[in-house]
């Protein structure tokens, strides 16, 4: 690919800056501060991971560390965590990394080639993710090398280079895979049902990267017990394929994978990712602007206020990619952290009790994660412009909290638990599944109500930075509510839901809680002043 030497560096510099500036968050220039914070956090994480290794092996004086095998296994842990971090960051930023309508409109009327634009955009994305991955890997690589190079067989420079090159290759490989998928998925979104399909694929990819982190402890144990022949396990461990670092011998499949997998990733990216982003295929951002507020305006009945907010809530969620990504991420993280290890244990042991536990935990975790995700979403400033619409409705609409709770229930609690009933009716039977789902729907509503107490803003239409102190306090309250809720619900879930009296008692408690909380919400709602963007 040839680039015009005079325009490419200008564009590269611009797009690299664009990757740091997260405009969608409404943070503008403050976006650079957020990214710096993430990079600093990753540097600390990388160092902590290394320190963990050092404490375990060096300070405790375990002699077995002085084997190439142990070092390989520890390196694999390092690469696995990096795969998760890089994967999540790339999945979150992939839309910024790909050429957008605005980039195209800026550049295509100027004497700049389309391939220069795409090349600069992809190079900027690669530079950005490499910067982030280096922030994580460099402190770890240096410390790791320094503390292990005293053994005679380790060449420090070679080890440092191996770690850095492996880390770079892995990050670039992940970037290629995610960007390769992005092109066809953008096109898929245009056909009926395509959006759901694309969302599922994106969710699956994200879940995979989180899953790497969750599954690794099991792989780590297996590797340690495998002794001198760990290659057979590594053959099926994707982070090892991309990193390409020298792995222990013993697997006939692994060397081939180390060559073939990155080649396939980079090759497919060039073939599909780049070619699918022809200039007329770039998704339109304009259509989003045109549709803004149409939802409210086209529902005259909604001007009653209460209903307007419920409709506004649904349409905003439906339209905003960022909100959907937040919900997807929180749900994927919860499922990965809470359910995947449990599913793995059940698959490993095959015990029916583990399976039953998994099934009863599923509605609890989904209700918690989705309610929390939605509660987090409503303080995101995705529609600050709509503040004026609701400001006009101030007198007739009243406080939005009851409407917001209704929106939570109609858009989340009811559909989610209906789907869960369908899923659980077969393994648990319709009666037990019904009881379980009613129980969790009621408690999910209670959780939503609890998290909405003191919510003073118009959802989606205020910038979160307006009341930072309040946000910090919210985080503590949130944590307390969620931990308490999880603990109580988990304990109650253990009660045999099939028992008549027990179930009535267990079911009555959260329902009473819901009623009390809703009453509190309404009472407090009348006293509290609703905040708008201009007030804050």
């Amino acid at each position: 690919m040839k680039f015009r030497t005079d325009t490419f560096p200008v564009l590269l510099r611009h797009f690299l800056r664009d990757a740091f500036m997260n405009e969608e968050d409404g943070l503008g220039r403050r976006g650079i501060g957020s990214v710096t914070l993430v990079i600093a956090g990753l540097m600390i994480l990388g160092t902590l991971l290394t320190m963990d290794v050092l404490v375990k092996y060096l300070l405790l004086g375990q002699a077995q560390f002085a084997t190439p095998f142990q070092i390989q296994v520890e390196k694999l842990r390092f690469f696995s965590l990096q795969a998760t971090i890089s994967g999540i960051i790339i999945c979150a930023g992939v839309r910024t990394f790909m050429p957008r309508l605005r980039d195209f409109e800026l550049v295509r009327s100027l004497p700049v080639r389309g391939r220069t634009l795409v090349g600069a955009k992809v190079s900027a994305a690669a530079t950005f993710v490499l910067l982030v991955s280096t922030a994580y890997s460099l402190p770890a690589a240096v410390t790791f090398t320094l503390f292990t190079s005293d053994t005679a067989w380790v060449n420090p420079l070679r080890m440092l280079l191996t770690l850095i090159i492996g880390s770079t290759l892995q990050t670039l490989g992940i970037l290629c895979i995610v960007m390769m998928l992005q092109g066809p998925l953008t096109f898929a979104e245009r056909i009926p049902g395509g959006k759901v399909f694309a969302g599922l694929v994106r969710g699956g990819v994200l879940l995979f990267f989180i899953g790497v982190f969750c599954w690794f402890p099991g792989v780590y144990e297996k590797l340690l017990t495998a002794g001198s022949d760990p290659g057979i396990h590594l053959s099926w461990w994707p982070p090892a394929w991309l990193a390409g670092f020298p792995l222990p011998a013993g697997s006939p499949l692994l060397p081939a994978l180390l060559v073939v997998f990155p080649a396939v990733a980079y090759g497919l990216f060039l073939l599909i990712g780049l070619t699918s982003f022809q200039k007329n295929g770039i998704p339109s951002e304009r259509s989003v602007h045109v549709r803004k507020h149409r939802g409210i305006i086209s529902h005259p009945v909604a001007w009653s206020g209460f209903l307007a907010l419920v409709i506004f809530f649904r349409l905003t969620l439906k339209r905003s990619r960022r909100l959907k990504a937040i919900i997807l991420f929180i749900t994927a993280a919860t499922l990965s952290l809470a359910l995947i290890p449990m599913a793995a244990r059940w698959l490993d042991s095959g015990e029916a009790a583990q399976f039953s536990d998994l099934l009863t935990l599923l509605p609890l975790m989904l209700n918690i994660s989705l309610v929390c995700a939605l509660r987090f979403c409503v303080i995101q400033a995705v529609e600050p412009e709509s503040s004026w619409v609701f400001r006009l409705l101030r007198t007739s609409a009243g406080h939005p909290r009851p409407a917001l709770l209704t929106a939570f229930v109609l858009n989340l609690v009811v559909p989610l638990n209906t789907v869960l009933f369908g899923l659980l009716a077969f393994p648990l039977g319709p009666v037990a599944a019904g009881k379980l789902v009613i129980f969790h729907a009621a408690t999910g509503m209670a959780l939503a109500a609890a998290l909405l107490i003191n919510f003073p803003w118009m959802p989606f239409s205020i910038r979160g930075l307006a009341d930072e102190e309040g946000v910090k306090l919210d985080a503590v309250r949130w944590l307390l509510v969620i931990v308490f809720y999880y603990w109580i619900m988990r304990a109650l879930g253990k009660v045999d839901l099939g028992g008549g009296t027990a179930w009535i008692l267990v079911g009555a408690a959260p329902i009473c809680a819901v009623i009390i909380l809703v009453v509190i919400l309404f009472i407090r709602g009348r006293k509290k002043v609703l905040l708008f963007e201009v007030d804050a």
């Binding site: 005079d6 550049v107 009327s109 100027l110 007329n280 951002e285």
Partner: protein, 257 residues
């Protein structure tokens, strides 16, 4: 710079939004490209600037196909788009510097030009250091105009360029465009506002449902129907509507509580 558009067509969802449009623009022409909303004006402009590929037809520049040498063509054209897809975090100065650099100008030259042009277009020096996200519609429009003029274009393609501009700057721009064409430049001025085109252009192309319904001088357009003002001619050419009747009906809805 001579532009010839031959049988230009663009389809969206199997509908011809621009349907076999042909016209020529010679040096010195100040052509109004007129039509109601949805007539296909912006689509034509986007094809002329390279933002959209035509479904059929050709665009020629000085006798050669534009697609054979698009970079040379774009280097000679200045474009002011209808919608400003600007990077809200860049300051006016940063944005213009980037555009200038992408047009091959040196940093020093861009800085000198942009500050002078900003001053002439009544854009305050201090505003150039503000992020574009803080700009008003008119300020953004001035930045886009400066971006289109910095490299010394031979032809200007302007899509609703006066949108958001105040009276003084609009007047300055009208005078500038006349002088630009008198000096051998050419302008394609796309607008749906008849009065602006009438006051400014020496030739008008009227587009309706993707097809050209008139390509004539302003004088000829006026004389096409004796004793009628241009607005009536325009209404007749573009769409037969009962303006008074519709206004009356809107009033009924507007008064209804």
């Amino acid at each position: 710079m001579r532009i010839a558009v031959e049988n230009l067509t663009r389809q969206f969802n199997r509908v011809n939004v621009v349907d076999g449009v042909s016209f020529r623009i010679e040096p010195g022409d100040l052509v109004g490209y007129l039509g109601p909303n949805g007539a296909g004006k912006s689509t034509t402009v986007r094809m002329l600037t390279g933002l959209l590929d035509p479904s059929g037809g050709e665009i020629l520049c000085d006798g050669g196909l534009v697609e054979d040498n698009p970079l040379d063509y774009r280097a000679r054209v200045g474009y002011v788009p209808e919608d400003s897809h600007l990077y809200s975090y860049l300051t006016g100065e940063e944005y213009l510097l980037m555009v200038g650099r992408l047009r091959g100008l040196s940093t020093r030259r861009v800085m000198a030009k942009l500050h002078h042009l900003a001053e002439l277009l009544r854009l305050k020096e201090v505003d150039l250091y503000l992020p574009l996200g803080n700009y008003s519609k008119g300020m953004k429009q001035k930045v886009l105009i400066i971006a289109a003029l910095m490299h010394g274009p031979e032809m200007l393609i302007l899509d609703e360029p006066f949108s958001g501009l105040d009276v003084t700057v609009s007047s300055i721009m009208r005078t500038f465009l006349n002088r630009f064409c008198a000096a051998g430049g050419s302008v394609l001025f796309s607008s749906h506002i008849l009065e602006v085109v009438e006051r400014l252009c020496n030739r008008v192309i009227i587009l309706h449902k993707g097809k050209i319904v008139a390509d004539t001088t302003m004088t000829d357009l006026k004389s096409m129907r004796r004793d009628h003002v241009v607005e009536e001619v325009f209404n007749q050419l573009v769409e037969q509507v009962d303006v008074n009747g519709i206004a009356k009906e809107i009033l009924i809805y507007a008064k209804d509580r």
